[in-house]
């Protein structure tokens, strides 16, 4: 009986947390449409989540494109189809690797910082202080982060795509001797608008997952340094897992 009770308690706690997370998201969104519009906060978050992530996203993109070209070249050469290398690199990046890897990098860089920042504000009573001043902490702290992530992540993914394909070009054309013309023309003939559109859709939903999970975990952190450490780890792991799981389901719908 105790085992069943324990399982039941875990399931109830899990469902309660899901509900709390959903309410947290809906309330944070609701505050977007009530005055005042926190434009300055949104711009500050765009700078933090978006601009400050460009370097790490570009670096990841460059090497992802390069290794894809390298791997693809040796696989395709067996069939004498080196000419298709451009399309192989571009499709992998635009459809899958761009949205997923860029989002994972944003989770690691900006998502963890979101959890830590909000969690410290919770522990040191700064969030309570804000509430006592009749300032809604969701509207001031959370809503701008969600909006900024929804805008930044698709732009970062677009950047990832361009740099990744560029990195593939350098390896394929400059190092391995594939013809530049065939690299670009295979991309042009293989990549459709649907692929780009799917990538953008994915990146928007990943942006939501990152800001939602990471802000929630920080906002409801346990009131200790250890608790905040746990919250940050949980946030990064949960956001990363959700991105990969959601990526599978979204891909199966989009294809």
């Amino acid at each position: 009986m105790n085992v069943i009770q324990a399982i039941g308690a875990r399931v109830i706690a899990w469902i309660e947390e899901m509900g709390a997370m959903l309410l947290f998201l809906l309330r944070s969104f609701g505050w977007l449409f009530r005055p005042p519009l926190r434009l300055f906060q949104i711009i500050k978050q765009l700078h933090f989540v978006g601009f400050k992530s460009t370097f790490v996203v570009m670096l990841t993109a460059l090497f992802t494109g390069m290794v894809l070209a390298l791997q693809g070249y040796y696989s395709l050469r067996k069939f004498g189809s080196e000419g298709l290398l451009g399309s192989a690199v571009a499709l992998s990046i635009i459809r899958e690797l761009g949205p997923v890897l860029a989002s994972l990098m944003v989770t690691a860089r900006a998502g963890s910082a979101m959890t830590a920042e909000i969690g410290i504000m919770r522990i040191t009573e700064q969030i309570d202080a804000m509430e006592t001043m009749a300032i809604n902490s969701l509207q001031y702290l959370i809503t701008p982060k969600i909006v900024a992530s929804l805008i930044s992540v698709p732009l970062l993914v677009a950047l990832f795509d361009v740099v990744g394909i560029g990195g593939g070009y350098v390896v394929a054309v400059k190092l391995l001797g594939v013809s530049g013309g065939s690299y670009w023309s295979s991309i042009e003939s293989a990549v459709e608008w649907k692929d780009v559109y799917g990538g953008i859709l994915k990146s928007i939903s990943f942006g939501l997952i990152i800001s939602w999970v990471c802000c929630y975990k920080g906002y409801f952190t346990k009131m200790s340094a250890e608790g905040l450490g746990e919250a940050t780890t949980e946030a990064v792991v949960l956001a990363a897992v959700l991105i990969l799981v959601w990526d599978y389901f979204l891909t199966s719908i989009l294809l």
């Binding site: 005042p36 410290i120 040191t124 009573e125 700064q126 309570d128 202080a129 509430e131 006592t132 001043m133 009749a134 300032i135 809604n136 001031y140």
Partner: protein, 251 residues
């Protein structure tokens, strides 16, 4: 004659983490006076303060501020009521991403209470009053405990609130700094005439600066009297709690 009541708690009960903390608190806060709540550590004095400003909601009972029950108000109405309040937190709870000036200006700017030119006038004036005239550019990490409390006090006072809650305003400060903060609270009370509700362990100092003293024990208000009368109470629990620090101070 008893003064008019601004806040009334009726049968407030709260359980946290399975432990009953408040077990039916009845408390009347007189308007315009300083009321200090004393009691052993872990009795839920800070929890009681958080109920008064709506940061926590009671499991049972009522918290009435000017007749409005905070236990049943939704977010927007609660924010309206909170405009009457300010709170000085135990840790001062300064925004560590902002300097002293920005911290004090924050409630004015965010609530658009006054124009930016008035912010530039009011904030230095308030910092001057709490003795931080030249500290506006410093960040919380660069301040001592006493300076943080002063900044917190300036941030609370700058919006001219009707009611200020003080959560252990002198904890962690040396005796001289604690004395200075107490003096500051008294002089600001004389100047601005707010209703003050304070949680403190500083016996006997609180008797001279409070108009009323209430003692929280076993989750209930054991006694509430005017400060001078409270010291003459014969209840053994009250005597035990106030006599030891009194004797230590005398020796």
């Amino acid at each position: 004659m008893r003064p008019s009541i601004i806040i009334r708690l009726k049968g407030v009960e709260k359980t946290l983490g399975g432990q009953p903390v408040l077990r039916g608190v009845d408390l009347d806060i007189p308007k315009g006076d300083i009321t200090t709540i004393i009691g052993p550590s872990g009795e839920g004095k800070s929890v009681l303060l958080k109920h008064i400003i709506g940061l926590m909601r009671p499991d049972r009972g009522q918290v009435l501020v000017d007749g409005v029950n905070l236990a049943q108000t939704h977010d927007r109405a609660l924010n309206e009521i909170r405009k009457k309040f300010a709170m000085l937190f135990q840790s001062a709870a300064l925004f560590d991403s902002m300097n002293v000036f920005e911290n004090v200006a924050f409630p004015l700017r965010e609530k658009r209470l006054v124009s930016e030119s008035d912010v530039q006038r009011y904030v230095p004036e308030m910092l001057e009053r709490v003795g931080l005239g030249k500290m506006g550019h410093k960040f919380p990490a660069e301040l001592s405990g006493g300076m943080k409390k002063r900044t917190g006090l300036a941030r609370a006072l700058v919006v001219r609130p009707e009611i200020i809650l003080f959560d252990e305003p002198t904890t962690g400060l040396d005796p001289l700094m604690a004395y200075a903060i107490h003096e500051l609270i008294v002089s600001m009370h004389k100047t601005f005439g707010f209703t003050g509700i304070m949680v403190s362990h500083e016996i006997p100092e609180i008797f001279s600066l409070s108009d009323w003293v209430a003692m929280l024990k076993n989750g209930k208000i054991l006694a509430m009297e005017r400060s001078d009368e409270f010291q003459r109470l014969s209840d053994p629990l009250v005597r035990e709690f106030i006599s030891i620090p009194n004797a230590m101070a005398a020796s």
